[in-house]
Amino acid sequence: MTTTTLKDLKSAKRKITEKDRIAFNVIAYILVAVMGLLCMLPFLLVFITSLTTESALMHHGYSFFISEFSTQAYDLAFRNPQKILWAYRNTTCATLIGTTLSVMLSTMTGYVLQRPDFRPRNKFSLFFFFTTLFNGGLVPWYILCTRYLGFKNNFIALVLPLMFSVWNMIIAKNYLKGIPYEITESAKIDGANDLLIFFRLILPLSLPLIATLGLFAALAYWNDWYNSMLFITKDEYKSLQYFLQEMLNSMQALKNLVNSGMDVSQLSRNLPQETLKMAMTMITTGPIILLYPFVQRFFIKGLVIGAVKG
């Protein structure tokens, strides 16, 4: 008798649990779907409006429904592509060179700092970590870069500032700590030097780490507009995102002028500024969106690496 009631009680409780779970699941599906759409639809909006005519856009406003399909904005953007090509060249070069150097620097440093037989490692760790706690601020850094290192209108201004990040180094250090020290030890006994051990043994064992750090660095370089804004005034050296920023803002200035009711020249009225802006956004972001489906899995794996505590 008593056993059955106990069973009944338990199954009743389980039913309540199941009910909670189902209710939570319904909410979870809805909220995740809503958030997902909120995150994705703006991209779709930019894409769709870049493929319509200016007059249709002015008539209907920004909308998901194309009333007139046209590649007018892209044609216009590429009519005189010199500046776009420069910006693409600069960003691509900076991304390739910068990512390579950045990955090298953080893995190499991280490796040394986790070597148990490298005695000053704590002193060096503190040396690096302290810079994340305290820094001189923007102004002295800016004066150093422009006045003493010649960053003004120089390609190195797009590469050097993002080249080393203490956080990436810490991620590398924690990952490499997971590789048994015995590998290093036995290679040493076989007479290999530390450089050889690092490049021939450790690096091939850390491909997930390299992919992660590489992706982080590549993203930082590709999306960089800040260093261009600080250091570059000539079109030949501008990065892609800064170029986009200029396109958006100079047109914005024009638009504000229209808003305030002042008369503007015929030319600016005929310029399909809205669709052109969206086309430029697509042109500068395109590679990321195209690569995204392939890259994001690595990224998620890499984030897991980075999240394992440091």
């Binding site: 409780k13 649990t17 995740v32 909006l45 856009l57 040394v112 002295p140 040493k188 999240a307």
Partner: protein, 349 residues
């Protein structure tokens, strides 16, 4: 020999002490016989300083680039903080410019600007941090609960997408949606018979706007970090709890959330270390130099940048930057100290 080996490896300098010691004791326990360690490995300890340096020359060579880089780009600018005590002019440079003592700081503190900027920066960042953690953890738990694989994969990658673009592109999207004349939102409002909103002339909506944009961009990244640590919670705990009759909510409250606490603490501490450092990209791209919006959106970073861009007063900009760095440093040291007292496991350092 064996004890020497153990002492050498076991004596860690307080840095991940537990982990290393356990591997080496385990190793030592396995090899119960006399341990023979190659001279190339163990002799390091007995060598004099110079020889030890020579032995590790390649290791030093490998960290040299990062050390030089950090010296040049982080430590040299710290020396450059002297500008804050000078009336900087370009011709005379850092060393030639005349000293003015604390005049720059006095001016900053006497103008009410500084207090206003500090408060804005702090409040925005606190909103970002607190709401960020709440939303990221909620989404991590929700995504984790979802069983339909395709749904999970598709929507998780949607939510992660904004992390991959720059604030410049976000600014373009904001114009497309919130623009006064053609923006989608205003067209919808008009269609509904409501009045349009001109975001670019009124400051009031911006605090909400900026917080939403920050959350929008960061949720994907954050929720993945938390999902990784949910995956690390032992499933046995959940089984045991459900045998003991813990309901669904109880399991989340008493297993999932405590399991996430260490990650939450790290994320919180890392963010808190920069609580007086604003998200410059967000603020600059959305607000920029729009003077109409600044009453509600101006932060320390924008102020420093404006001072730098106008090159009117480098000394003042540097003093503001110095003030910001000191605030950050004091915050992180205090908070970390408190947490270390309360529970050393959660402390950053």
């Amino acid at each position: 020999m064996m004890t020497a080996f153990l002492r050498f490896t076991g004596k860690t300098d307080g840095y991940n002490a537990g982990k290393e010691r356990s591997t080496y004791t385990a190793r030592a326990a396995k090899e119960s016989g006399p341990v023979s360690v190659h001279p190339a490995v163990v002799n390091n300890r007995r060598l004099s300083g110079r020889n030890r340096f020579y032995n590790n020359r390649y290791l030093y060579l490998m960290i040299l680039p990062a050390v030089l880089y950090t010296l040049l780009f982080s430590y040299v600018p710290m020396g450059g903080l002297v500008i804050a005590f000078k009336k900087y002019n370009y011709v005379q440079g850092i060393f030639g410019s005349p000293w003015v003592g604390l005049k720059n700081f006095k001016f900053l503190f006497n103008s009410h600007k500084l207090w206003f900027l500090t408060r804005n920066t702090l409040l925005y960042n606190l909103a970002f941090i607190v709401l960020g953690i709440v939303i990221q953890v909620s989404f991590a738990i929700m995504i984790n609960e979802i069983r339909a694989k395709w749904f999970k994969r598709v929507f998780q990658s949607f939510i992660f997408l904004p992390y991959f673009i720059s604030w410049v592109v976000v600014a373009a999207m904001v114009q497309a949606i919130f623009g006064y004349e053609y923006g989608m939102l205003n067209r919808v409002l008009e269609w509904l018979g409501l009045e349009r909103i001109n975001l670019y002339i009124s400051a009031d909506p911006w605090p909400v706007m900026l917080v939403m944009l920050h959350l929008w961009k960061g949720t994907g990244y954050g929720s993945i970090v938390y999902m990784a640590s949910i995956a690390g919670i032992s499933p046995e705990l959940y089984e045991a709890a459900s045998i003991d009759g813990a309901g669904f909510w109880k399991r989340i409250r008493h297993i999932t959330l405590p399991g996430l606490r260490p990650t939450m603490m790290i994320m919180f501490l890392l963010a808190l270390g920069a609580v007086f450092r604003g998200d410059f990209g967000l603020f600059y791209q959305m607000v920029g130099n729009n003077a109409l919006l600044l009453p509600k959106t101006d932060i320390l970073d924008l102020y420093v940048y404006r001072a730098l861009a106008s090159t009117s007063d480098m000394g003042m900009a540097s003093a503001a930057g110095f003030y910001q760095s000191i605030l950050c440093f004091i915050t992180i040291m205090t908070v970390n100290g408190i947490i270390r007292k309360a529970n050393p496991d959660y402390a950053l350092f």
